[in-house]
Symmetry: C2
Subunit: 107 residues, 2 copies
């Protein structure tokens, strides 16, 4: 029940739905990519990413001072269904803005 509520609670927020779909579309991004793309302050982005990660939707890979977030793989069927449903939603997303010093996501 607790895990289910954590999963549902994570997507019960417009900002997180957008961030989740954004990562699903653009693949691995760092915190500052989202900060720049969405024009949100850093603490807000960091907090939402943590909630999505703790709910099992995202994984994080730390390289140097960067944290790269991406869709967790493997993802169970239920979360896959949620992602699919979010994919159907007609929401406007910003284009990926890679202003961070980083130019390579591949490290």
């Amino acid at each position: 029940m607790d895990i289910f509520l954590k999963t549902i609670g994570a997507i019960n927020d417009e900002t997180r739905i957008k961030i989740l779909k954004f990562i699903d579309i653009n693949g691995e991004v760092c915190v500052c990519d989202i900060e720049n793309s969405f024009d949100m302050i850093q603490s807000r982005v960091s907090r939402h990413l943590k909630i999505l990660k703790d709910a099992g939707f995202l994984k994080v890979k730390r390289v140097g001072r960067w944290a790269y977030y991406s869709i967790r793989d493997p993802l169970d069927i239920f979360r896959q269904n949620i992602l699919k449903e979010i994919g159907f939603l007609d929401i406007e997303l910003p284009t990926l803005n890679k202003e961070c010093i980083t130019n390579d996501t591949s490290k």
Copy 2:
């Protein structure tokens, strides 16, 4: 987005998850059945049922002074998946307590 958030918001509550699973298992019930089974005050039950109905999970059939709630049919795939997931949850539900004056649900 609004409909999606309403759907998710409806199941982002332990009480409603229990009520939804209860109705899924027991079939059509009236408000007072839930009131008696869960030992909750009427306004609370009524409110949660309305939220679940407005979110597309339940339908209501009014007969005389009673309101019979049941799982909406047809139910889209996404809500079906949610119901299935809730079905997997290991939560304790009360047994159906039909203390209301009504004895027949079939009218």
